[in-house]
Symmetry: C2
Subunit: 325 residues, 2 copies
């Protein structure tokens, strides 16, 4: 329609400078007029690049993933890369299935949450030479490119605070730890703090459960009906902790007077619930942005692709009080 070859049209998009202005304008006018957009398949086939990356996350229906992924997507979009999204529901087999699916959809690279997955998933990534970034957990010396924070260290820090408040009888509500290294590291972080403070691990009680307000409440109730009661309940994330606080209220148990509660993540809920939640602040948006930037660098074959360790911050609020002696 513009009286030029397909090659020239292609150049108008990919190296506009190599086309003389008058031609380019004529082409682009017609492009606009007929609503032309390049065909992805043809493009991917010819250039062996899709400008698409995939993310497989446990679920979007959790504020912490939603926030990080939103930032991830924005950064990609700024670089003209589109995001394919899939969810695993915390199931490693489903994760592999989704990885396969996104790869066959042409994803140039992937974002994965956490390090813990079956070896055959890593085999597949290796075999197909798929560039990927592991995020939401930082591990020094990881085999994978990696952006995140040290869950274990952060858990140790908040546990140290808890111990400083005089708590010796600690209980933990955690997510199931199989194939969830964030949860496992947080658990181990608390153990580390106890050990190095000379508190016996025998004083540690743990209930593993699913992530929901209700299961947090149920686990809380379980702990509160044991004798003797723990003096503090440390929760694997803020959703569990919020569930615990709601149940405490329903049971007429005063926090932190009768028992202290801590969370992890610092989502909006943490500041809204009464009493406010003592928790670990995690920079979710920066994590998403950094992950996108690293993945883009890897895909661009940049020489100095650096893993990124982000810092967390302990936020002391009302839900942590002194242990009764």
């Amino acid at each position: 329609m513009a009286g030029v070859s397909t090659a020239t049209v292609s150049r108008c998009f990919n190296s506009p400078d190599s086309v003389v202005k008058t031609t380019r304008e004529r082409v682009l006018r017609i492009v606009e007029e007929i609503g032309y957009t390049p065909h992805f398949g043809g493009r991917a086939l010819a250039s062996n690049r899709s400008n698409t990356v995939g993310a497989i996350i446990p679920t979007m229906d959790n504020a912490i993933f939603a926030r990080g992924i939103q930032a991830f997507q924005e950064t990609l979009a700024d670089n003209n890369v589109t995001l394919l999204i899939a969810s695993s529901g915390y199931d490693p087999e489903r994760e592999l299935e989704q990885i396969r699916s996104l790869i066959s959809q042409g994803a140039d690279g992937l974002l994965l949450i956490g390090h813990a997955r079956p070896e055959n998933t890593y085999d597949f990534l290796q075999l197909r030479q798929i560039p990927y970034v592991v995020t939401w957990n930082y591990r020094a010396g990881s085999r994978s490119f990696n952006v995140g924070f040290d869950n274990q260290k952060a858990a140790t820090q908040i546990a140290q605070q808890v111990i400083k408040y005089g708590h010796k009888h600690i209980a933990i509500i955690t997510a199931h730890t199989e194939f969830n290294d964030r949860a496992l590291d947080r658990l181990n972080g608390v153990r580390d703090a106890m050990e190095s403070s000379g508190i016996s691990i025998d004083n540690l009680e743990v209930i593993p459960t699913t992530y929901s307000l209700k299961s947090g409440g149920d686990a809380f109730q379980d702990f509160m009906t044991r004798t003797p009661r723990p003096t503090v309940i440390m929760c694997g994330n803020d959703v569990l902790a919020t569930g615990a606080l709601i149940r405490a209220n329903e049971m007429g148990i005063k926090v932190p007077d009768e028992v202290s509660v801590t969370g992890f993540d610092d989502i909006d809920l943490a500041e809204v619930i009464k009493p406010n939640l003592t928790t670990v602040h995690v920079p979710h948006r920066r994590m998403g942005e950094s992950a996108a930037q690293l993945l883009l660098d890897i895909l661009d074959d940049k020489k100095d692709c650096q893993n990124v360790e982000l810092e967390t911050e302990i936020v002391i609020r009302e839900s942590l009080g002194l242990a009764k002696s």
Copy 2:
């Protein structure tokens, strides 16, 4: 490697019955061995179908969209369709840009939020004959395929409750209504209820703002420093309402004794905040599922593609009380 033509390999995937068992098994064994997956670009090019759909949402960083999109994605995945995601940040120009982008990425169809967008966006969809579903708002007789609930009706219903509690001096904190028909319909719904109850619209005060806890709090504070004060503040969503309740607490204003507050959406926050929030319950997950199902039906050229109107429910909780006379 299997000693067959590419055509036979293709048939092994797409019509396995047309390949004799021994050949098929030989091919699939090698497929497994070398980790082969079909190339998406080639496939899309040859079959003119991508098995990909796109969703453009304002932002994932809002529980209501995250929950609906999660359900949307799950339903798609069950049907072997992958989801491309993009966000507009409530900006209509950016929305069109992202629509273009997802289409050129090969999306077979789209999910869009709400009806309000510039005419040229609809022109583009029409011109390119792109199948799409509008969701999060239901409008009878819409030009678009449509799944959602009637925001205006729901707002009228909650306003009727508010009026039944004796409130005549009503204030509204809303999102900006340009290109946000959900917000506009909610506003108009309240107006409808007032009119049909014979309450003058002069008694209605409105502050439009952005969606955040802070802006909800600021607007609340603004209203509470006017004379006379409104007796109820109806908020465009639960985030704004929660922001208002937090600020009320900080200002030492008792809800609902001094002023009532209502929300919209019924996110987790609504049950967690004290006092609990009176709000409109919206079936976000079912909306996502229905939207996916409708879009899949459209793409399958099903004859009887039906729009879906979902019902909402008014949930009366502590934050709504009787108006002081």
